[in-house]
């Protein structure tokens, strides 16, 4: 936020540096079933951000101390590939990735029927292949599709988008310069059917009215993402229709 050495202006002639309008998302592509060895998998490309997610399970809980006889143990692992950033990212868990893994697990858990998998583990591994802002939201979108691909019973998919403020203007789906040199970054995840919020983080300062407007904007974008997720899943499974 407000870093030094960024571009002078983030909005030129009412358009953002990559030519988008303020309420326009980057192009999103979702592919299902990219990892045959996993029980479920998905790849999400959001502009230049790229994330691959693999889901394993339900399976036996290992190590056994994580076992919960009331509900499933949801093991989320978010990681950035060493080549995903412009400067080499030291591989392995870090303070940042441990925290993001935790918030992603909390964002996904309300969508899953955790009590149906009591005493079992569901592992969700998300690897950022290329980072260009919005990695945690892209990871949530990928994870929710991969969970569905693995046949895990869910109440709903989870849709997620980051929005924020740069050059005094509210905008949707920040990309790297806006994320680094803008004023506010606010990732949000929702269950699209009920509009319940499962993730809401923010850094920077917003007025109450601005925050409300930003959430509204993100919710609308989530609806678009939901359609893309549905389309991607139906693309893989839709062809089953003919022979039944």
């Amino acid at each position: 936020m407000g870093g030094v050495g960024g571009p002078e202006k983030l909005i030129v002639n009412g358009k953002r540096l990559d030519g988008r309008k303020l309420n326009e998302m980057r192009e999103m592509e979702i592919k299902v079933g990219v990892i045959p060895n996993a029980d479920g998998s998905a790849m999400v490309t959001l502009g230049e951000t790229k994330v691959i997610c693999a889901v394993y399970g339900p399976k036996e809980v290992l190590p056994r101390r994580n076992l919960d006889s009331e509900k499933a143990f949801l093991n989320c692992v978010y990681g950035m590939a060493s080549f995903s950033t412009s400067e080499r990212n030291r591989p392995g868990p870090s303070r940042r990735s441990t925290e993001i893994s935790k918030v992603i697990a909390d964002a996904l858990a309300p969508a899953i029927f955790m009590e149906k998998y009591a005493g079992l583990e569901i592992t969700v591994i998300m690897e950022i292949i290329n980072a260009n802002a919005g990695t945690r939201t892209a990871a949530i979108n990928a994870a929710s599709v991969a969970l569905a691909d693995a046949g895990i019973e869910m109440r709903d998919l989870v849709c997620s988008v980051a929005s924020g403020k740069a050059d005094g203007q509210l905008m949707l789906d920040l990309f790297e310069p806006e994320d680094n040199f803008g004023e506010v970054d606010m990732p949000l995840a929702i269950l699209p059917n009920t509009k319940q919020i499962t993730l809401l983080q923010m850094d920077g300062m917003l007025t109450k009215a601005e925050a409300k407007k930003l959430i509204e904007m993100s919710m609308k974008a989530c609806e678009q993402i939901y359609e893309l997720q549905k389309k991607a899943l139906k693309e893989k499974y839709g062809s089953e229709k003919e022979s039944e």
């Binding site: 029980d39 479920g40 399970g57 339900p58 399976k59 036996e60 969508a111 029927f113 009591a118 005493g119 079992l120 569905a148 691909d149 693995a150 046949g151 895990i152 019973e153 869910m154 109440r155 709903d156 998919l157 269950l191 699209p192 059917n193 997720q229 549905k230 899943l233 139906k234 499974y237 839709g238 062809s239 089953e240 229709k241 003919e242 022979s243 039944e244």
Partner: protein, 228 residues
């Protein structure tokens, strides 16, 4: 209150899809009710029969049910039986009293005389207790120890395709290869015949799994089995 159905028979749906509104309809399979609405909980295929809306899952691991006919792999000994693996997160037990109609005298024989580790057994799920303890039975015919042959793994959701309508597909596989074939609902298939035919059937089953959604699959499988 409004009674409304949002989907048609044979639609493909994703988790969280609103299927119907109102208490008139009943959820079945992987559909669930939330308040007055019925939603789907997995990727699945819709089947509407009168008031009942059923979601047939198109993905997922095998979840044991009482009465399921399965193929299990022995992976450990207990005091009076064996523990088995069934391609599912749940462990399953085979008690020594459930392997034969006759009395098994453990004073004059050992458990390893009947089943060794990594033997396969064809059986039925006898019971699932509340605490998740699952027991298997292989007492009655046709349940038995599987001697010889090969076991291959397929996705459990594709098992109905391998069997076919009224067993049509499995009949083709059996007739054209002279192999004994047993299909477990947990996604394991046992094939016994001569080596060449076993490989042929295994390839045909892999083809069914991959192309289960294409039309004219039966002809393709037939051609594959008879051609080569």
């Amino acid at each position: 209150m409004v009674e409304k159905i949002h989907i048609k028979d044979k639609d493909v749906i994703v988790p969280g899809t609103l299927l119907a509104e109102g208490l008139e309809y009943l959820p079945s399979g992987k559909a669930f009710r939330d308040g007055e609405n019925i939603y789907s909980s997995t990727v699945g295929l819709i089947s509407v029969k009168g008031r009942v809306i059923k979601v047939i899952p198109l993905a997922g691991k095998y979840a044991p049910k009482r009465g399921d006919v399965i193929i299990a792999k022995i992976n450990g000994f207990g005091k009076f039986g064996w523990t088995c693996e069934i391609e599912s997160p749940y462990k399953i037990d085979l008690n020594v009293g459930e392997i034969s109609m006759n009395y098994v005298d453990l004073k004059n024989s050992k458990l390893a005389d009947y089943f060794k580790i990594s033997d396969y057994v064809f059986g039925e799920i006898l019971d699932i207790s509340e605490s998740g303890y699952i027991s298997l039975t292989a007492k009655r015919m046709p349940y038995r120890k599987l001697v010889g042959g090969n076991v291959i793994k397929v996705s459990p959701v594709k098992i109905p395709r391998i069997i076919g309508k009224q067993g049509s597909m499995i009949k083709i596989l059996k007739d054209s290869s002279n192999c004994e074939i047993l299909v477990g609902q947990n996604g394991l298939v046992w094939i016994k015949g001569n080596a060449e035919n076993e490989a042929k059937v295994a390839n045909a089953i892999k083809l069914i799994e991959q192309e289960s959604h294409h039309s004219g699959l039966t002809e393709k499988v037939k051609a594959m089995l008879e051609g080569k």
